[in-house]
Symmetry: C2
Subunit: 241 residues, 2 copies
DNA sequence: CCGATAAGGTTCGAAACCAGACCTTATGGG
DNA sequence: CCCATAAGGTCTGGTTTCGAACCTTATCGG
């Protein structure tokens, strides 16, 4: 009786596709998500192509094709010359407007489960460390944006940014990456269903509680509260899909 | 006062390399890790090249180059003809034998932090679901292998396999992937430091407690225990690096 | 007003990667 | 014994990606 009998199942764990798509596709997805999540807001200018290509880890040629795709899709416009660049021209639409889900259902449901682990973990890690003044301020600002968002679409953007901000202050690249990917999936789902005012209000209260716990350094409470938040969001999404 | 002021930090979250290395390198790493972690034990045969290439999501040509690299490194040998294939010829060395760390220190330390979140999460998720008979048996077997390993090297392999087994029974691809990557980093670190008998004994007790909690369906306890385990391992590694 | 400069636009060869067809070898079953 | 078969080994054409140099445009500062 050895573990070898179960090797097949373990092999599944490590013998998985080494990279999802082509560089070009991944590149488009990254940029489109950055824009749709509001990291690059309407009217703001993307970094120069050479910088972007370096940071995304892709050749400039590939990056340019990706930008061309975004331009095609109407998300950005590009101007030449000094002071030019690629500027965002995108205003988020109301939830429920997306006709169909971009990804397979199973992948989205998996993202919900994974989120239940990493986002509370991020809240815990964020609370369990000394925040710089800038980080403290970023969290407060992100929270305020969520509370004062005037439309559902803007609220959804601010929501994503708050979650990213929490992951960001942990300073852990792996954790930041995990939360970013999860938020991308979440965004696709939220685009496909209508959201009620009372849901927004409920999550707003949870956001306040999470940020308060983080700022107070109460790691256990931050995690617990974030767990409730994830559970509630997940229940809502699972019910409507 | 808007979130845009902090956009730079958030941009860091999403503007990261879209794929770490070339397909070839990632492929070598995956396979080498599978072998060194003991998923493919000494003497066992790898799946046929065509199957492997499909599962790793890489062309057969690229896979073959990766296998050639493994052969060069003495990890496998290859025989042609029917009934042939690529068989593993690798016996794990004692810890402390690796002269240098394969990855940058920061990456390894980050992996420890990330592990503190995902592995307890995996234990929680594993306990919080109905296990099939096969899964139940896999966990018991993996635990037994850890307890009865005759050498430190074998113990380290069995340790990794147990953690992978726990992640595996959750059935969540994202979680499995996260734990797999973390275990790869951990393996590199454990290769570089000497391990004491009393450390092994301590972690053995923790493994037993975690698996018991999972089998009993006590999610909270499974997570708590795994957290302690991760904390202890991390403290040991951080102290010796 | 005009040139240094900071951006995007273009081109080209090299390398990696892929998909598929085909060849070679050795074994195991009839 | 022998051949169908399951493996690894080889070749080829085509696509993607890269890297790096070079061109073009438009602004900002002196």
């Amino acid at each position: 009786m050895t573990i070898a009998e179960h090797r097949g199942e373990l092999a599944d764990a490590v013998l998985r596709p080494v990279r999802g798509h082509h560089a070009f596709e991944s590149c488009v997805e990254r940029l489109a998500t950055s824009i749709r999540l509001g990291i690059y807001a309407d009217g703001s200018t993307l970094p120069p192509e050479r910088d972007l290509a370096d940071r995304i880890g892709v050749s400039r040629a590939t990056l340019r094709e990706a930008i061309a795709a975004l331009r095609e899709a109407g998300l950005v416009t590009t101007r030449r010359g000094r002071g030019g660049g690629t500027v965002v021209t995108f205003r988020p639409g109301e939830p429920g407007s997306a006709p169909t889900l971009a990804r397979p259902r199973a992948e989205l449901l998996d993202a919900l489960d994974f989120r239940r682990i990493v986002e509370p973990g991020a809240a815990w890690a964020a609370a369990d460390q000394d925040l710089t003044v800038a980080q403290d301020e970023m969290l407060r600002t992100a929270l305020e944006q969520v509370s004062t968002a005037s439309t559902k679409a803007l609220h959804r953007q601010a929501d994503s940014l708050l979650h990213l901000a929490i992951a960001s202050v942990t300073g852990s690249p792996l954790l930041i990456d995990a939360v970013t990917n999860v938020q991308m999936c979440l965004h696709d789902m939220l685009d496909a269903i209508p959201v009620l005012d009372r849901n927004i209000d409920h999550s707003r209260r949870q956001h306040v509680a999470v940020v308060e716990a983080i700022l107070a350094g109460d790691a256990a409470k931050a995690r617990r509260t974030m767990e409730s938040h994830c559970d509630d969001t997940a229940a809502l999404l699972r019910g409507l899909m």
